[in-house]
């Protein structure tokens, strides 16, 4: 379940091993936060245009774009942050390098600068995230009720969020340095929670546990672990082990079918039983992997993990399915505390 105190967080970072569906979960979470009239922002930073593909829209520009609405006037906006564009913003802002900046970009100078110091890229990206989280409207209240960040995968996420280390690459003064101090404060505060998406397979669970430990060491708060694509468990629990070992009572299945007048060929029955064995093996492996999330240290996490579950979506992810997933998250308690605003219209703030 979703612990209540997480509803106070304003920045929700979503990570996970590649292939676990972290973009989908991040989108569903942003949508869940919007239910009931909130305004949320979904940010991606890896240049994959994963959000646009998920919502089936054209590639996102470097601007906050409305991509979904929710009941009660809620809405989700999306932003694809690009380190080069963010650096150009800075150059423009602090050095008035408008047109020259574009030429520099064509020459590859901007990319050069961002690769020269690998930390710079992350500092620029997290800097933009922070700006969105802390932005206020004309009424002085926060513009977004919550911001969800589709972050880099588990292997890279701690390095990405550990801005303190990235800063070592950079000058000890200057505008970016000053902003980074604010980023560090935000990421390490109660305003931020890092959620990890996993599936019931061994490797994603292992990476999840490793990342939880790394996050702890970097003093970043773990929010929830979302077990995604949880397969329906069809077999009655006592039959799983024997079925996984290949022992299924063929006569019982045949009799069960006969009782409703169904007659299957031997080939059909063989096929069904073979599928059942595979299903049982998968269930057993899944149960063993997921048990590690709840195990005691040293095998399990240092602190118990809050777990959420999302099912496999039968017909592929499209917008309708996202609403369904968001609803399932809401049922497990996922919500954000709305920002009290005096003017509640979309025009209230700068976009």
């Amino acid at each position: 379940m979703w612990p209540k105190e997480l509803s106070r967080a304003r920045l929700h970072v979503v990570t996970g091993k590649g292939g676990t569906g972290k973009t989908t979960v991040a989108a569903a979470m942003a949508l869940a936060f919007a239910f009931g009239g909130q305004r949320t922002l979904l940010i991606e930073v890896e240049g994959r245009q994963g959000i646009a593909q998920l919502f089936d829209t054209s590639p996102l520009p470097y601007a906050e774009t409305k991509i979904a609405v929710a009941a009660g006037g809620g809405e989700v906006r999306a932003l694809a942050v690009d380190a080069e564009a963010a650096l150009l913003d800075y150059l423009e802002m602090f050095y008035s390098l408008g047109i020259a900046g574009r030429t520099l970009r064509r020459m590859g100078a901007i990319e050069f600068a961002t690769t020269l110091a690998p930390g710079l890229r992350d500092v620029l990206l997290t800097g933009k995230v922070k700006e969105c989280v802390t932005r206020t409207g004309p009424d002085g209240r926060h513009f977004y009720d919550a911001v969800v960040l589709d972050a880099p995968p588990t292997g890279r996420v701690v390095r990405f969020l550990d801005v303190t280390k990235a800063m070592a690459d950079l000058a000890k003064a200057g505008p970016i340095h000053r902003q980074s101090e604010g980023v560090i404060a935000l990421l390490h505060s109660a305003d931020t929670a890092v959620h990890l998406v996993t599936t019931g397979e061994d490797l994603p669970v292992t990476e999840t546990l490793e990342t939880v430990a790394e996050l702890g060491a970097a003093e970043l708060r773990v929010g929830t672990v979302i077990i995604n694509r949880a397969n329906p468990r069809r077999l009655p629990a006592p039959s799983v082990d024997s079925a996984a070992d290949g022992r299924i009572d063929r006569m019982e299945v045949r009799a069960g079918l006969a009782a409703v007048g169904a007659r299957l060929t031997d080939a059909q029955l063989d096929g069904l039983l073979a599928e059942t064995v595979e299903h049982a093996i998968r269930m057993r492996a899944e149960a063993a992997a997921l048990a590690r999330l709840s195990a005691e240290p040293p095998d399990g996490p240092a602190e118990p993990l809050h777990q959420l579950r999302l099912p496999e979506v039968a017909d592929g992810i499209e917008l309708g399915a996202l609403y369904e997933l968001a609803k399932l998250l809401t049922e497990q308690g996922v919500r954000t505390r709305p920002v009290a605003r005096t003017i509640r219209s979309a025009e209230a703030g700068r976009v």
Partner: protein, 416 residues
């Protein structure tokens, strides 16, 4: 019509298949003209496992094979005997199984050899610096703080070093076949672009401009960006700090003498990748993202004239019983109304789930094959559970080379 008369196998369980061309991996691995196999694809699709299984199969067919893995999961590394990062190939024993069982016979083993290694990015870079430089110059490069950054965390280094290692392995002439896994990049394309990006980074033009634009800028470039560049250089040095720029500059100067050799190497490797002895295999899973990446990659390989062998679609779930999903669910509902049908009902429902899943997988693949009808495909049924030992890799190898069954026979496909 009585219940007994129900025909339970009416209608296809799955949508009619696209006539995809089958990728005959065994023929490819066995052919003496195949020298290098590169496995690419997005992260999380089983690329490393596939590379290892292909290597097992090639060795079984008598070829002296080495597999270069990039970042194997611990258990897979253990399965290959790679408990420590060695950066040199290590012999893997027992590729045929215990030789008394079916495995050895059915594989017609002619005892090749299998070696495996894990890329040590940093050490590969160090070696390259030593090989292309005088000892004291190399020392200067390696102790430069900037080198530490670029050799460990520059985003293209892993890709670059994988290609460098491939070049080295080829140069030894010791191997019949080299199988390369590619890094789990953000995008599958990174690995083709990284060497180029890294080269333009190291060629030193930009760093000279940044550290002393007035002296090195060159009139052409300065005219192009005008006053902007000076400002840019100033801004960058404010952001990055003078020390970093000074380190980078010293690094590039020291690197300068070996840059030619460096670039020559990269060009040679690129040429090797385009040669007829190389086969690219794109690995994917039946998921929208993975197949989209696969499609990008196929297009890119074609654009760069790189030889594509085909697509390996991992983790598919063939339907093993010819019984439509709707029918199975109806029966399950009926069974649920009887007293003792819990197991039967579960069996029917999980079959219906599987038919749905298989249909979804085929629709995803059809989307890919419709756009790329000339790409050969091998589908690999999912293995329930992880690959933790050589027996697991042999099983994957077996699935990789299995010809597709005729649709009528599809129902009695692989059992675990």
């Amino acid at each position: 019509m009585s219940q007994e008369d129900r025909d339970l196998s009416v209608g296809p369980t799955v949508p009619s298949r696209q006539p995809t061309r089958w990728l005959d991996l065994d023929a490819m691995l066995t052919s003496p003209s195949t020298k290098v196999v590169v496995c690419c694809g997005s992260g999380g699709v089983g690329k490393t496992t596939t590379a290892a299984a292909l290597a097992v199969r090639a060795a079984q067919r008598g070829r002296r094979t080495v597999v270069l893995t990039i970042d194997p999961a611990r258990r897979l590394a253990e399965a290959l005997g790679l408990t420590t990062l060695s950066n040199e190939p290590k012999r893997v024993g027992d590729i045929d199984g215990d030789r008394d069982g079916v495995a050895a016979n059915s594989f017609e083993s002619t005892a090749g050899e299998l070696y495996a290694m894990m890329l040590d990015m940093r050490r590969t870079f160090d070696e390259m610096v030593y090989n292309h430089s005088t000892p004291d110059r190399a020392e200067k490069i390696i102790t430069n703080p900037f080198y530490q950054t670029i050799s460990s965390s520059f985003s293209g280094t892993q890709e670059y070093m994988a290609m460098e290692k491939l070049g080295q392995l080829t140069a030894t002439g010791k191997w019949d076949l080299i199988i390369v896994d590619t890094p789990p990049s953000r995008s599958a394309l990174d690995f083709l672009d990284a060497p180029q990006r890294m080269s333009s980074f190291l060629d030193g033009k930009m760093i000279r401009l940044l550290s002393a634009p007035a002296r090195f800028g060159g009139r052409g470039l300065r005219r192009l960006v005008g006053v902007g560049f000076g400002l840019f250089a100033k801004a960058v040095s404010t952001i990055l700090g003078g020390q970093l720029l000074a380190d980078a500059s010293a690094f590039v100067q020291a690197f300068d003498t070996m840059f030619g050799g460096f670039q020559e190497r990269a060009t040679a490797t690129y040429k090797l990748l385009r040669s007829p002895g190389t086969a690219f295999i794109v690995v994917a899973a039946p998921e929208p993202d993975a197949l989209r990446e696969a499609a990008y990659f196929v297009d890119r390989l074609a654009a760069d004239s790189m030889p594509l062998a085909g697509l390996i679609l991992n983790r598919v779930h063939p339907v093993l019983a010819d019984l439509p999903a709707g029918r199975a669910r109806e029966l399950a509902d009926l069974v649920d109304q009887t007293s003792a049908g819990q197991l039967t009902s579960a069996v029917l429902r999980l079959h219906a789930d599987r038919v749905d899943r298989s249909g979804r997988e085929q629709r995803l693949l059809a989307r890919f094959t419709n756009a790329h009808p000339d790409v050969s495909v091998t589908k690999v049924p999912a293995v329930a559970g992880d690959i933790t030992d050589l027996a697991g890799l042999r099983e994957i190898a077996r699935r990789l080379i299995q010809p597709p069954l005729a649709p009528a026979e599809d129902t009695r496909d692989v059992l675990v």
